[in-house]
């Protein structure tokens, strides 16, 4: 690892000051599970690391007024085991549980995961299916935007230099939703997905009021399956319709060939797993 200097601010403002002062030579660090590896491989070489670990404002999981707020520093494991999350947003708890192993989830944070923006990660599809928003702070102020708009490419986000993720917020759906997160793991249980699908359906009396479907590991960013959603909305959810909706997916995904499968195989599996996720959500 290239030598660097570590800074440990205790407030968001102090962290933003440090990031501004050192500019391109600085990086925030949360759990370090992604960044330490990138630094060891010398893919990134920051001269200053700004540790967020002591910033109180970024910690904790709370639900009030029907909105869940998860601080950026929350470890994956704390989301998976939170009683509030499990009862109000079970899709989220179940998705975080599918990330890597308990040992990694003890350390990896929600904010670090989003900023890392590897399209093979698990949480983004579920967050998008739940219409989650991400809170961002920078020297020029604070903003919130849909998680869906955060990702711009492989390992790329719309975070401006010097900005940090502060939290994720999710409204409670007006009615309990039907949901599923399916992670296709043909190799080992702790692997990244070959493809993965999150679905959230608002179903009333067998008819679909609203549908949100998103895929991971299927392109340079998480991908929202708008065409499939549109086919389902307002319709009775018959098996044939689920098949037709899933059949729209191969045309919108853009996977790469790698050790987890060829692009063609992943495109086919994206369809199969979308259909299965819909079926599982309704079962």
């Amino acid at each position: 690892m290239i030598p660097f200097e570590l800074h440990v601010p205790t407030s968001v403002d102090e962290a933003l000051d440090l990031l501004e002062r050192f500019g391109e030579d600085a990086r925030p660090i949360a759990g370090g599970t992604a960044l330490v590896l990138l630094m060891q491989q010398r893919l990134v070489r920051p001269e200053h690391l700004v540790s967020l670990g002591q910033v109180r404002e970024l910690q904790g999981i709370e639900a009030g007024n029907g909105t869940l707020r998860i601080g950026a520093l929350s470890p994956h494991r704390s989301i998976e085991t939170s009683g509030v999350v499990r009862s109000g947003w079970p899709l989220l708890a179940e998705t975080y549980r599918r990330v890597a192993t308990v040992r990694i989830r003890n350390v990896a944070t929600i904010g670090g995961g989003l900023a890392h923006a590897d399209p093979n990660q698990d949480p983004p599809a579920a967050l998008i299916a739940l219409d989650a928003r991400v809170g961002i702070a920078g020297k020029h102020g604070r903003r919130e935007l849909p998680v869906e708009e955060l990702f711009t490419g492989y390992y790329e986000t719309c975070l401006e230099p010097g900005e940090i993720v502060t939290h994720v917020s999710i409204s409670r759906p007006p009615r309990p939703i039907r949901y599923a997160y399916l992670k296709f793991l043909p190799r080992t249980a702790d692997d990244y997905a070959t493809v993965a699908v999150a679905v959230a359906l608002d179903v009333d009396d067998g008819r679909c009021r609203d549908a949100r479907i998103a895929l991971n590991a299927a392109g340079p960013t998480p991908i929202r399956a708008h065409a499939a959603e549109d086919l389902l909305k307002g319709q009775a959810l018959q098996p044939e319709l689920l098949r037709s909706a899933a059949a729209t997916v191969p045309a919108i995904v853009d996977p790469i060939s790698d050790s987890r499968g060829s692009a063609n195989y992943k495109r086919r599996m994206a369809e199969v797993f979308t259909r299965r996720a819909l079926e599982q959500a309704l079962a």
């Binding site: 570590l6 540790s51 003890n106």
Partner: protein, 155 residues
């Protein structure tokens, strides 16, 4: 550039100056001489470098020493007390979970953390928790049995 770190390791307070980039595993092995913690894959997958930080298992190969400032670290050397092995260590010996010395320290610390979190885990819960600790002797059945029997108090 270095950072002053103060933490407990196996109940003993240590203060040292570590280069900012020093990994926890290197501090544990080379500065403190606790060589029970092994470096396997070096990328957080295999679990050989597992230690407990404030009771939670972490990969010491992915953690900067500076990030452990103020925490309580437990390594495999810290489980026995006054020469008496911890129940999970006895369980690994009695039921054959102890195979070679590479993955065993991490396996035992992970199993210890599991039983602290969930004193009577089901077989599925054992598998889910332990899946991040790889054994290339492929002796998982014995490891699962060792944990299950220890949880049952049969050590």
């Amino acid at each position: 550039m270095s950072v002053h770190v103060r933490f407990q390791v196996n109940g003993e307070v240590h203060e040292l100056d570590a280069p900012d980039s020093r990994l926890l595993i290197d501090t544990i092995r080379y500065d403190l001489g606790l060589t029970g913690t092994k470096l396997g894959c070096g990328v957080g997958v295999c679990g050989a470098c597992t230690v407990l930080a404030d009771g939670k298992m972490v990969s010491s190969c992915l953690m900067l020493t500076a990030m452990a400032d103020g925490s309580e670290i437990t390594t495999i050397e810290g489980l026995a007390h006054d020469g008496e092995l911890a129940p999970i260590q006895k369980g690994f010996i009695k039921y054959g979970g102890f195979q070679c010395g590479i993955c065993t320290p991490g396996q035992i610390l992970a199993a210890h953390a599991l039983l602290q979190d969930n004193p009577r885990p089901s077989e599925d819960e054992i598998k889910e928790w332990m899946m991040g600790n790889l054994c290339r002797c492929t002796g998982y059945y014995k490891i699962i049995e060792s944990i299950d029997r220890t949880a049952a108090g049969e050590v």
